[in-house]
């Protein structure tokens, strides 16, 4: 498969802080790569360095096989960027905004007209063409923001937290749109701290913390890193220490936590863990409200690797 | 306390423009004050005259120059452009060009001629009167006396008789008008300073408020507003105090006179008026970017129209009538009244009290408007 981005030994220092510390990774054609990490982990810095917006201390960045630089217009023509903040002109309508930004890439007016229509359809803003940004809700504004970044049909798209503070309907629209872009052949770099989105969308995930890549791989590969197989949560209002000890000694149980409200039992491996726990509870005549079993999440992986939560 | 702290926080956040603005206002005030000092036309009855003498500086020509020097402020400038500049900006009211042969013409009994440049204002008219008078007197004598020495003697003796003038007023016009200048300018300082800072804070507060709402949950909307009002009041008082301290620095202890105290009281009342104006505007606008425009519009507008920069007596009647709708008119009117007040007693202060009542009426009006506006905003938000 063709490499679209090759990052090697990228290091970026601000005054005394190392925002990005010697990271290397590749992105292949047609992939959706998730860049995951808490705030301040270096995701945006990495992306801005790749885009040649930031100067960096060390390392090299190649896009479509060429060393990236600010004047590499042929490469830039094929890149689309959706920034974290909504960056549109309040004075221009939805249509004009998209046309303006698309116009920075596409000269031909008739082609541009078609592309702008496509972008509007993709993000579902057809009914809002003539609206001004001030008249749009937060979710619609985000969609406009995305349309402005991708209208020129780029082959490589950077999406920096495009779904922050977005209502569920807009979020679904955005996620569908991203999948559609990929199906049309685009390679996508996606940063977020919503793990669910990453799990739905991404072929491959890179987890960053404190400027370094701490893990990468597919969702399943990453989950294997976390020494967890199953996590069962039970809502119980009262539980004695004695019973907790008993649960700890049950088969396959790795860890037991009780906070006075929810009992969390973590299993390393094994089958029918949930059924066995329910049996135990009813035998001991312990009443509970809710019980459910979870597969490990990326948050658990992150917790395992760094000892802290992904989202603060 | 939370509200006051937030107030300070907001102020701190905007410290760059606030400091910039305050420093600018103070500098404006000081420069304006010190430069105005020398050009106050009312205390001077000696026009500024510039003499360009192409003739000899002897005999009757010298007599002429001495005659003018005794009655006018002589300005000395050398090149033509500076002279023209000085004339345009009224630093010189009248320029006299004495041609070569001026003296000879007089001695020979011919009518001398002069070239002059004049600003055409009353100072220039006064200078014109002087020159006219001299030429006429010389004219009267020169026909009959062609001995220069005798001529000079007669001319001098003619001008040596001066009228006995008695001045009835005991007012220290000079320092009183200095004070009036300072306090009139304060109209601009107060309005610009308070409206700028308070509207910046109020607009920011609207945003802060949303997040703060949870932490101040126990406080009612009314109470938050109450504290906000208090914080603004404290700020206004501090701002006024700064202006007062500056006035002591610039004017000295004349401020402790009865007149001075009246100026101070008047400016205090006006501070309250400015505060309510600032609050009203802070409530009305929600866009921080609009603040600058509104500040300049209100501060400059009312300062120009009400006579903070240009004395009211120089303005057309219609404008003065129009300016009565601004509270600044009453503030400045009081300053002018105090300036020319011979004795300070209840009777003479009556018009000043009247102005204060007008200003307080504006305060009441603005407070009502503030309540209406914030009530409407809350309902239709």
């Amino acid at each position: 498969m063709k490499k679209v981005i090759e990052v090697s030994n990228l290091t970026k220092e601000y005054k005394s802080v190392r925002a990005v510390n010697d990271i290397s990774f590749d992105v292949y054609e047609g992939e959706i790569v998730g860049l995951l990490g808490p705030n301040g982990s270096g995701k945006s810095t990495t992306i801005n360095s790749i885009l040649s917006l930031l100067s960096f201390s060390k390392g090299s960045i190649k896009i479509f096989g060429e060393e990236m630089s600010p004047n590499l217009y042929e490469v830039k023509r094929n890149i689309g960027v959706v920034f974290q903040d909504v960056a549109v002109f309040d004075e221009l309508s939805v249509l004009e905004n998209i046309d303006y930004f698309c116009g920075l890439y596409i000269k031909d007016k008739s082609v541009r007209k078609e592309y702008v229509e496509d972008a509007i359809n993709l993000v579902g803003l057809l009914d809002f063409k003539k609206f001004y940004p001030k008249q749009l809700s937060g979710g619609l504004l985000r969609r406009l923001n995305i349309a402005c970044g991708i209208a020129h049909k780029p082959k490589l798209i950077f999406l920096d937290e495009p779904t922050v503070a977005v209502d569920p309907q807009s979020r679904n629209n955005i996620l569908d749109g991203i999948l559609k872009l990929r199906s049309e052949g685009a390679t996508i770099i996606y940063t977020t701290h919503y793990m669910e989105e990453v799990e739905i969308l991404c072929d491959r995930i890179i987890i960053m913390d404190k400027g370094s890549i701490i893990a990468s791989g597919t969702s399943d590969e990453l989950k294997e890193l976390a020494n967890i197989e199953e996590k069962v949560s039970v809502h119980i209002s009262e539980l004695s220490d004695e019973v907790i000890e008993k649960i700890k000694s049950l088969k396959n149980v790795e860890e037991v936590n009780y906070n006075g409200d929810v009992l969390v039992v973590i299993y390393k491996k094994g089958e029918d863990n949930l059924v066995k726990l329910m049996d135990f509870l009813s035998k001991n005549k312990i009443r509970y409200d809710k019980i459910f079993s979870e597969r490990p999440t990326l948050n658990d992986v992150f917790l395992e690797l760094t000892g802290k939560e992904l989202r603060d | 306390m939370i509200v006051f702290k937030s107030f300070l926080r907001v102020l701190n956040k905007n410290k760059a423009p606030v400091i910039l603005f305050t420093v600018m206002l103070v500098i404006f005030g000081v420069i304006n004050f010190t430069s105005n000092d020398s050009t106050d036309v009312f205390t001077s009855s000696r026009p500024d005259v510039l003499i360009v003498n192409k003739d000899v500086n002897e005999g009757i020509t010298k007599t002429f120059i001495d005659y003018i020097s005794k009655r006018a402020e002589i300005i000395k400038l050398s090149d033509n452009e500076s002279i023209d500049d000085a004339l345009f900006y009224r630093n010189v009211n009248y320029v006299i060009y004495i041609p070569l042969g001026f003296r000879d013409d007089i001695i020979n009994g011919n009518k001398p001629s002069l070239e002059v440049k004049s600003t055409g204002d009353y100072q220039a008219s006064l200078a014109q009167m002087m020159v006219n008078k001299f030429l006429r007197v010389v004219n009267v004598y020169s026909g009959d006396f062609n001995d220069e020495w005798q001529l000079i003697n007669y001319v001098n003796s003619t001008f040596s008789n001066e009228t006995n003038v008695e001045i009835t007023s005991k007012l220290d016009v000079d320092s009183l008008s200095r004070m009036a200048t300072y306090f009139n300018f304060m109209n601009y300082t107060m309005l610009a300073g308070l409206v700028f800072v308070i509207s910046i804070v109020m607009t920011s507060f609207k945003n802060v408020n949303i997040s703060k709402r949870t932490t101040m949950g126990s406080m009612s909307y009314r109470r938050v507003n109450m504290y906000l009002l208090l914080s603004n009041l404290v700020f206004a008082l501090v701002f006024w105090l700064v202006c007062m301290i500056l006035s002591f620095v610039l004017l000295g202890d004349i401020l402790f006179s009865l007149h001075g105290v009246m100026y101070i009281v008047n400016s205090f009342i006006f501070t309250i008026v400015s505060l309510t104006i600032a609050l009203l505007i802070g409530n009305l606008i929600s866009n921080k970017n609009a603040v600058n425009g509104i500040v300049n519009l209100i501060a400059l507008g009312s300062s120009f129209l009400c006579g903070a920069f240009v004395p009211v007596e120089f303005m057309p009647k219609s404008v003065v009538n129009l300016s009565r709708v601004f509270p600044s008119y009453y503030y400045i009117n009081s300053n002018e009244l105090i300036k020319s007040m011979e004795v300070v007693n209840f009777e003479s202060l009556l018009p000043v009290f009247k102005n204060i009542i007008f200003m307080l009426a504006f305060v009441v009006l603005f407070v009502i408007l503030i309540n209406v506006v914030s009530w409407k905003k809350r309902r239709f938000a």
């Binding site: 601000y14 040649s52 917006l53 930031l54 600010p70 217009y73 830039k76 920034f83 960056a87 221009l92 004009e96 303006y100 116009g103 920075l104 890439y105 | 603005f21 404006f28 420069i31 304006n32 430069s35 205390t43 001077s44 009855s45 452009e81 500049d85 004339l87 345009f88 060009y97 001629s113 440049k117 055409g120 204002d121 009353y122 008219s125 006064l126 008078k133 006429r136 007197v137 004219n139 009267v140 004598y141 009959d144 003619t158 001008f159 008789n161 009228t163 006995n164 003038v165 009835t168 609009a290 600058n292 425009g293 300049n296 400059l300 120009f304 920069f309 240009v310 303005m315 057309p316 404008v319």
Partner: protein
């Protein structure tokens, strides 16, 4: 690409209501204020008819003089005189109905309440009466030896001299007024207004540059990642800013010329040149402020406005004397102040017949602009930033 950017820049700038207010409406409102406040000032500085009183005690000389100077049909009318008793005169003076009163007696006396121009004029006139007497007595003294008492009646002789002196005193004197007709100093106010508008126009440049630089806004970042060269984007945006700036200026010119009656001299092409160069100075100031300071757009516009206001203040916007004081006491201050350069250029066009000073100002403005633009280019050339 240039046209595309230019077109959209015009659109965005035009629709920014606050910007348009600042550059289009604010000067017009301010100009109207100026004209309201100043329309009368120069007339009111001309000498007006002065209210006085004379306590005449039957003195004919005084009555003659003051009556002739109070003649309502004369162009040279100085006084509005009333003849009253001393008690009444005191009352009139106290109630500020008159400037002062004259006690017509052998040694005449003037009573006034203050120092001032009107008071001085009154004194001058009374001086003149005394001087008359002095002249007559001088002539009398010098002619004494010619008089043979038996020949001529004394009083007749005095009257002769008196009429002779009167005749000579009333002869016209040769004074030629060579002052320029264009002496209306309130024009300076309007010139500072134009200067202010030129410099405020820099706000458009601030906004434009802010929207183009990646380290200032996300819109700028968006432009930076596109394959359009930064040079083209900046130039097209600045051209759009300049066009709007000039449009605002044209409107202001039309308004000041046709509504406010402002006089810009006779050379229209040079007025246009001054506007073009002045706006360029504003534009470069905007570019400079927005590329050098790394702060919010709001702070940048505050800096620009503060600078403009301070500049206009020194050029005489809040008191025309200020410009003269600065020009003569600290000329360097106004040599580097673009507002003063613009004001002074208009002033030169209006007041002077030679053009040296005008060109000096134009060249200063060009130098000012070039320096700021060169400095800005160093910062604008950067494509990658340390932080954004």
């Amino acid at each position: 690409m240039f046209i595309h950017n230019f077109k959209y820049s015009l659109k965005t700038l035009f629709k920014d209501k606050i910007l348009i207010f600042w550059t289009f409406m604010f000067p017009i409102i301010l100009g109207t204020l100026f004209s309201l406040a100043f329309s009368n000032i120069e007339d009111s500085e001309k000498l007006k008819v002065i209210d006085i009183a004379v306590v005449d005690n039957g003195n004919v000389v005084f009555k003659n003089v003051f009556d002739s100077l109070s003649d309502e049909d004369s162009d040279d009318r100085l006084f509005n005189v009333r003849y009253v008793s001393e008690e009444e005169a005191i009352k009139l003076l106290e109630s500020e109905k008159i400037t002062g009163y004259v006690l017509a007696q052998v040694k005449p006396k003037v009573v006034v309440s203050n120092n001032g121009i009107n008071e001085t004029v009154l004194k001058y006139v009374v001086d003149e009466i005394i001087e008359y007497q002095s002249i007559v007595s001088n002539f009398l003294a010098s002619s004494m030896h010619e008089i043979r008492l038996e020949d001529i009646q004394m009083s007749e002789f005095v009257l002769d001299i008196y009429s002779e002196v009167s005749k000579k005193m009333n002869e016209e004197v040769n004074i030629h007024d060579i002052s320029s007709e264009n002496l209306s100093y309130t024009m300076i106010e309007f010139y500072t207004l134009i200067a202010m508008t030129c410099l405020y126009g820099g706000i458009f440049a601030v906004v434009s540059i802010n929207n183009t630089l990646a380290n200032m806004s996300f819109k700028g970042a968006r432009v930076s990642v596109s394959p359009t060269s930064k040079k083209i984007v900046i130039l097209s945006r600045l051209l759009a800013s300049y066009v709007i700036q000039l449009l605002g200026l044209v409107i202001l010119f039309l308004f000041t010329i046709f509504v406010l009656d402002v006089d810009y001299g006779n050379d229209l092409s040079l007025v246009v040149l001054t506007s073009l160069v002045g706006s360029l100075a504003g534009l470069s100031l905007g570019v400079f402020v927005s590329s050098i300071f790394k702060s919010s757009e709001n702070t940048k516009t505050s800096i620009l406005i503060a600078f403009t206001m301070a500049g206009c203040f020194l050029s005489g916007m809040m008191g025309i004397t200020m410009k003269y004081v600065v020009d003569s006491k600290a000329p360097i201050l106004n040599k580097i102040n673009p507002a003063a350069m613009i004001t002074d250029a208009f002033y030169s066009l209006y007041y002077f017949t030679t053009r040296d000073r005008f060109w000096f100002n134009i060249i200063s403005l060009v130098i000012f602009s070039v320096i700021l633009i060169v400095v800005s280019i160093f910062s604008l050339r950067r494509q990658r930033y340390d932080s954004i």
